[in-house]
Structure formats: structure tokens, C-alpha cells
Symmetry: C2
């Protein structure tokens, strides 16, 4: 069976790391992909007046899966509609420390399961009077239950014993109260073990004792912030993949952005995108190929070559070739 | 002149660290305080049905300054009204690493200037339909300008060269857009140097390169989360003081909570509260006494004794006595 994959490199280093991931996918045996490239991002905006052309949106909405790189200033105009296009309600962001990579906290092995459709991302904002602006944060019981089900399933299927529900229900009593209640109800129905944590306290505890945490189920913005924080624990954003999933489709992207400071130099770390491609393989049902890709990346992280963000002087191409060689 | 100080120890270790800070203040020459103690917190709630009795609120609203410890489950019902009682719009939270204390990032010297009146703390929430809840996040130009003025002043007066405006204006375009615009306008009017940062990216950068940051001006929740994160960088919440200021009055409190796990054992670290008392001294115009207290705390942090949270085995009383001895 041929898998129809939409590829959206986007801006900056997206143009370097997405081709690297495609190279890795093409080197796999027994998986047949058809890649079609689409435009999005700042350059597309400058050329066409739209950061996310309708045809890119439609392609993502009908492909088996989409591999996205990064976008610059227009990131929110690209990534938020794309997450919606693939009908994803869960943003899965593993953050692990790897042997061979200098990490602030080598014991880190976390997976953020971020609610991907509501919270402050509702987009309902206005200037209601001169100098007075409001945003309506939306939290529904259905979406909260849905992400909790996903998070508890993920923990079980992937062998994580600790499940933590992040929230700020002491201040956002009604909305995060609803989120927490729904997540607790799901946990209790399953007889699962779990804990909850205020997102502020959790930010500190993840720094001081990351080994005590596993899967963190979080509202949209909390998941956004805490997963970036976790990138700091494991050596930077160059290592963090993500999967926007929930429906048959899916959108797979590195957590990092377009990194204009190093774009065009051929030194971007492709690992986050290659690991995102591995999450895509899992999603499409190629578990073995996914494991092979992950092993290859781990081998390269352990023994090199490394790009400059990890203290090495290898190029994107060197690292990609080394990954391919290990497959 | 006698300064009329309201003292609210609250719950848990608040009952231990607030008396310690009072002991330090009483040991100072040339400062005449009259302390009056008031109740608040979980125990007060259990006894009186109210976490924050009207008389505590009124006392804080009319005192020269209030020194608060911590509250348990009822923290939000105590601390949020108290912040309002003293008419504070700025929550100042320094986070520094100290010689002698094991810190994840010994180069950390940050001050969070957190907007203290709006954002998601507006309290406007409801269940608008079955299973559908909303919160109205409020951001005004006036409050944003006011905190920016305060933050730029603070940076100038305290010798910080880096000012960073934290926000999530790529998603909360109208509300955080207004916050960012107002802060930038203030910075530009002053010809000040500043930068802005997305709060998610900032969470990571503070971990990886804290030395590049100084004063961080932040909306309410961003300041809440980022300052707790910074506690993780410098060795824990036992060291972080805070000042809720903006009017003549002020409310001074450690960033930590009531720590029920160690309450009643006499081993709580009093430093955060003693440093909060030093911020109070500064606020009341006793700059020299404030510097003396800070020096004494730094001396004890450098040479011991240390409470268990810092790896020592000293008691709250040992540490307090050592601080007093150095005055
Ligand atoms: C670009 C931005 C809209 C996005 C988000 O806030 O989700 C980014 O920070 C991310 O985490 O993917
Ligand atoms: C207790 C809670 C309401 C409070 C806050 O969110 O401000 C606390 O986290 C703090 O930072 O002082």
C-alpha cells in the first residue's frame, strides 16, 4: 500500500530538516511513500498573500499524514489551521534525555499530552472598549475527557507509570476545574493511578525532580509552555518531536521553530524532525520501522556525529547520512 | 516613627517562617515596628467559615505593610484578595542563585515583574452551557503600561541591563498583543533597550541561558509560571521572596506555599520570608537595614547553617539565629 504523505517544509531550517526526514523515510524497506510537497509560511505569505494556501490546507486535510517543518513570523497562521485540518485533538510531545547528549537533567523521560483544540487557543478575542481587550478561554467537558482518555491510553500502551494532570484550577476554578474534574473522572473510571499538579509548581518540580514524572496531560497553553521547558531539560529543541493526532490523519512536526539565525547554513539538527517522522510511522501502523528509525537516531546521538547545537560540528547532511547508514 | 505592620503567618510553615522574619526585623537597630498578628488560611476557614476574615483584609488595607506567610488549600482565597487589599499592581519576584547553595544554574540573577491585577486572574468564569465553561481574560492598556513603567524603572534603579517582555501574542493576538504594544511603547518612549519573548520559548531559554536575562516583565499567569520555574534554577522555592507593591502599602510574602509535608517540624527554610521582609524594609524606606538583612542572609547561605531543603540539617531557629547574629 502506498501512503500518501503531504510534506510542508515551510520556512528557515524547515527547508533543511524536512528533506532530511524524507531521506530517512525513503531509505526504509517495506514502506512505500508518495510524498507531495506544499507551500506554507512567511515566504509563501510574501509571494501569495497567504501564509497557508487553501491547497496546502486541503492537502493536509485529505492526506494519510502530513510532515511539517517550521514557519517564521506566520507560524500561528500556519500551524494552528493545520492542526485543525487534520482534526487532531492531541498534541503528543515526548521529551527524553539521550545518552551522548549533554542534558541539564539526564533522568528526563516525559511525554506531554497536550489538549490541542481549546483553552486560550479559542481565538475569541476583541477590544471591547478603548484600551480594554478580552479573550474567551473555552474548556469543555467533552474535549477534556477526550484528551484524558488519550493520555491514560498512551501511558498504558507505552509503559509510563506516572500520569500527572497539569492545571491551574485554584485560579481558573470553573474552566480548569472542569478540565481537572473530567480528567480525574476518566482516571477513576479506569482505576488508574494519577496525580494532579498546579502548572506553576509543576514547572519547578519538572526542573528539580523530572524522574518523578512520566505522562503529563495538560490544557493547551500549559502543554505549550511545559513542553518547551522540558526541551531545556534534555538539551534543547533540536531533539523534540511531536505528533498532532486523534483522527485517522495526523500532523507531525518538530517542536522547534524556523531558527532564522542558523537557517541556510546546513547545520540544523534534523533529529527532532526525523523523530517526528518516526511518530508518523507509528501512527500509520509501521511500528517496526518506527523503532528502527528511533534506534538509528539514538545511535547517532550516542556516538555522533552531532550538529553544533549539541556541541558538534557536523552538518545536517552528515547527521542524516549517519542515521540512514544505521537503518 | 513607628511602622505599623500586619503579620499574617497563615498555614503550615507560614507559622514558622513568619515568626523567624519578625525575629530578624526586631533585631534591627533604628527601625521601630509594631507588629499585629491576624488570621487567615485553612485553619481559619475551618474555625470561622472564612479563609480571609474581613478584619484581616481591613488590617492589610490600612497597614503600612503586611508580611504574609502561606496558606494551604485556601491559598487563592487568601492571597488574591490580600494583593487587592494593598492595592498592588506589581508582583516583584527576584530569583538569584547564591554562593554556597547548589543551583542548577548558578549564573541566574532574574527579577520577574509580574502584572498583578488582570489576565486570567480576572475571576470572570462560568459554565455557559452543560459541559461548556468559559473564562474571560482581561488585558487593559492602562494596566499594561503601568506594569511596564514599573518594570523599566525597576531595571534602571537596580542596575539590570536586560529587560524582556514575556507574552504569547502570536496566539493571544488581541490581549497579549495589547500587553506587548503597551510595554513596547513605554520602552520606546524611554529610549530603553529591551527584547520580547514568547513565554514558551522563554521557559526554555531561561533554563539554557539564564545569564542572558535580567528583568522579565510578564502578564499575571506567565509571571506566575516563569517565576516558579526560576525557583527551580536557583535551588528551590525556599529562597524566593516577593513584594506585591504599587501603592503606599505593600504585601510581602515568600513565593513558596504552606509545605504541609514538612510543617510543624521546625525545619522550614526561613530565607524566602526574611528576604521578603528585606523587600518590605526597602519599600518602607529603610534601604540600609534592607541591605544589612540581605547581607546577613547571603552570609548564612554561603557559610551555613542550612535547612534540609538546601542539604543541611539545621532548624529554622538555627538559621534565624545565625542571620540575627550577622546583623
Ligand atoms: C507557533 C505557535 C502557535 C505554537 C503554539 O503555541 O502551539 C508553537 O509554540 C508550538 O508549540 O507548536
Ligand atoms: C496560590 C495562587 C493563587 C498564587 C498565584 O497563582 O498567584 C501562587 O501560585 C503564587 O504565585 O503566589
Amino acid at each position: 500500500m502506498t501512503e500518501d504523505i503531504v510534506v510542508v517544509p515551510g520556512d528557515g531550517i524547515g527547508q533543511e530538516v524536512v528533506p532530511a526526514a524524507v531521506e530517512v523515510l525513503e531509505a526504509l524497506d517495506g514502506v512505500d511513500f508518495e510524498f507531495t510537497e506544499y507551500d506554507a509560511g512567511d515566504e509563501t505569505l510574501a509571494e501569495t498573500g497567504e501564509a497557508l494556501p487553501e491547497e496546502t490546507y486541503e492537502a493536509a486535510a485529505s492526506a494519510d499524514a502530513t510532515l511539517f517543518g517550521a514557519a517564521g513570523e506566520s507560524a500561528a497562521d500556519v500551524i494552528l489551521p493545520l492542526r485543525e485540518a487534520v482534526d487532531s485533538f492531541a498534541n503528543v510531545r515526548p521529551a527524553r534525555a539521550y545518552p551522548g547528549v549533554d542534558a541539564l537533567r539526564p533522568e528526563t523521560d516525559l511525554v506531554f499530552v497536550r489538549e490541542n483544540t481549546e483553552g486560550v487557543y479559542s481565538g475569541i478575542e476583541s477590544e471591547i472598549a478603548d484600551g480594554v481587550t478580552t479573550l474567551t478561554r473555552v474548556v469543555t467537558e467533552d474535549a477534556s475527557r477526550r484528551i484524558a482518555e488519550f493520555g491514560f491510553d498512551y501511558a498504558e500502551q507505552n509503559g509510563y507509570e506516572d500520569v500527572t494532570i497539569a492545571h491551574k484550577a485554584n485560579v481558573m476554578r470553573v474552566t480548569d476545574g472542569a478540565f481537572l474534574d473530567a480528567c480525574e473522572a476518566v482516571g477513576d473510571e479506569r482505576g488508574a493511578d494519577y496525580d494532579d499538579a498546579l502548572m506553576d509548581a509543576l514547572a519547578m518540580h519538572l526542573l528539580l525532580r523530572p524522574e518523578e514524572y512520566g505522562v503529563v496531560i495538560a490544557p493547551n497553553l500549559a502543554g505549550d509552555v511545559l513542553s518547551d521547558l522540558a526541551a531545556g531539560l534534555v538539551g534543547g529543541l533540536g531533539l523534540l518531536p511531536s505528533a498532532n493526532v486523534g483522527s485517522e490523519r495526523g500532523l507531525f512536526e518538530p517542536v522547534h521553530g524556523s531558527a532564522p539565525d542558523i537557517a541556510g547554513q546546513g547545520i540544523a539538527n534534523p533529529c527532532a524532525t526525523v523523530l517526528s517522522a518516526a511518530m508518523m510511522l507509528d501512527h500509520l501502523g509501521y511500528g517496526e520501522a518506527a523503532a528502527d528509525v528511533r534506534d538509528a537516531v539514538e545511535g547517532v546521538l550516542a556516538e555522533g556525529p552531532h550538529t553544533p547545537d549539541l556541541g558538534g560540528d557536523a552538518s545536517t547532511e552528515d547527521v542524516t547520512a549517519a542515521i540512514v547508514e544505521r537503518l
